[in-house]
């Protein structure tokens, strides 16, 4: 029987907490212009101001409003996260499904390349490439996506292979169901959970990577990013400013990743019946 993913995620505590956290971050990103009256790049009167009525989280070392940087930082994180998630999922489907269906030498080549990329540490590759090409946002998204589709491709390939052989698909074909009907009615519902889990993995890794790279000082310096905020704030850790500068950026980043982790955990539990039921229900 097909699992209702929506129900499974909403039924588990982890799923509900995760979804709420994600909605919160998405709301912050979408409503950023409404929630703050400052442009995150605009330099105002004083630098390193303490929180006040006009600057809720004070200002940073060049006088930018930290609250609005925090909100716009959510945009960067989500854009990189979802951009990389979608592109690497599409690549994963492309290579995973084609390897499973075509088979033979093509399958072997794709799978060896996939395995090779799984053992190569992605962060150092990104650091090397970024040191030379100094990527802006779209290039960064493409770069991260190019390095993160492999795990998904392997899982999608395995799932496609097992579906190809499974009884209920044969049966429905025998009863005269067309290819598209089978794909829509039987294959998609079975594969959608795996796709979602892989997608969230991709998003989570990308959010983390973007912040990490910005923290190392790689990436577009004009872009407001939580990682960059933490990097800038770190140099002032001897002052009290970390309380309203460093910690909010770190907490925002962590809550985003925790939200993604919880949702993927709930989806994964829905996927594996052995883990279902007595789970964090």
């Amino acid at each position: 029987m097909h699992i209702s993913l929506k129900k499974e995620i909403e039924r588990s505590n982890a799923g509900r907490v995760g979804l709420s956290l994600l909605l919160l971050v998405i709301a912050a990103a979408v409503l950023a212009p409404l929630l703050s009256s400052y442009d995150p790049g605009q330099q105002s009167v004083g630098s390193l101001l303490s929180p006040s009525g006009s600057h809720w989280l004070g200002t940073n070392h060049v006088g930018q409003d930290i609250w609005s940087q925090l909100l716009y930082g959510a945009r960067t994180s989500l854009m990189v996260g979802f951009g990389v998630g979608i592109i690497s999922l599409l690549l994963g489907i492309l290579f995973g499904v084609s390897a499973a269906l075509i088979g033979g030498l093509y399958d072997k080549i794709v799978m060896r390349v996939v395995d090779a990329f799984i053992v190569i540490p992605m962060v150092v590759v990104v650091i090397l490439v970024a040191a030379y090409i100094k990527p802006d946002l779209p290039v960064l998204i493409l770069l991260l996506a190019a390095l993160s589709w492999q795990g998904g491709a392997r899982v999608i390939r395995a799932q496609t292979l097992s579906l190809k052989e499974s009884g209920h698909i044969n049966a429905s074909r025998m009863f005269g169901a067309g290819r598209f009907y089978v794909a829509w009615r039987h294959v998609l519902p079975d594969i959608v959970t795996i796709l979602l889990v892989e997608f969230i993995y991709g998003v989570r890794r990308a959010v983390f990577m973007e912040a990490g790279l910005a923290f190392l000082g790689i990436g577009d310096p004009m872009l407001v990013s939580w990682g960059m905020m933490m990097r800038d704030a770190m140099s002032f850790s001897y002052l009290d400013v970390w309380q309203w500068w460093l910690v909010p950026a770190g907490v925002a980043l962590s809550l985003t990743i925790i939200g993604l982790t919880f949702v993927s955990h709930a989806a994964e539990a829905a996927l594996d019946p052995r883990l279902r039921g007595a789970e964090v229900a």
Binding site: V125, M230, T261
Partner: protein, 323 residues
Amino acid sequence: MLNRRNLVTYSIAFLFILALNFLMPRMMPGDPLSAIYGDEVLVAMAPEFKAHLVESFALDEPMWRQFGAYILALFQGDMGYSYYYNASVFSVIIGSLPWTLLVVGSSLVLSTLIGIALGIESGWRRGSRTDRTMLAGLMSLNGFPDFFLGLVLLLVFGVLMGIFPLAGALTPYSGLSGFSLVVDVMKHMALPVTALTLAHLAGVYLLTRNTMITVLKAPFMLTARAKGLSQRRLKYHHAGRNSMLPVLTVTGIWLGRLVTGALFVELVFAYPGVGYLTYQALLTRDYPLIQGIFLIVAIAVLIANFAVDLLYPKLDPRVSYAH
């Protein structure tokens, strides 16, 4: 077991790393020397030395000859010269490598041991309050990026409470030796190791817990129970031992993550390992050094993965029967 599949995989990975390292500077627009060494250095370079470099990199020859020269130099241990440190890239990296190995090794051991122990307890008591609390707690911990955990630890234990040193791996000019030197090193590595361990604990824990849940349902567990074995023996000898195996398979990948985690955490604590070196190299645009670090870190992670693949069948005979 060395099978062909593994060999092909690792060869592809190895070639990709070499090719990327070779092509990146040479694909950049403009003079390849300026991409290999950086504009700032090139201006200060004597023309004779430039000519010597062009010759040694075979830069005036076709790409495949250049690649040959590049590989030859690598096999001679020549990874280029760091102008910022005024030393060969190899010696600069070797100088900072032990610190990273110390931090990464300690956190690998700690996170594996603690993760397995917690995973066994949690899986055994699946669904109980203890299990649920541990699961939620560790999964949340998993969401904290290692460098943020490091920053929080630094602020709380270093800045506010002043228990641990704020930066470095040793107290400079202290002239310590013997036991007090060991204490000093431990004090400096305590916070970075804690940050890395906490950030990477959850992975081992979740994997062990999931395997534990599956293993507990295995027929041999029923047999063991029917034989009248004690709970303790069931939990650790029968279920626990079997739950450790999957952790081992991913140790190689884990090590890769810990190494990259260390890159970030070292920066937070100004810990003089490879991570901090990377940060410095990026700041000073020391391209030969960036390339050298990439090569050494990537290949070290490859070797670790390879070693785990070789070792695994010896520990789990089922795997070698399967081939």
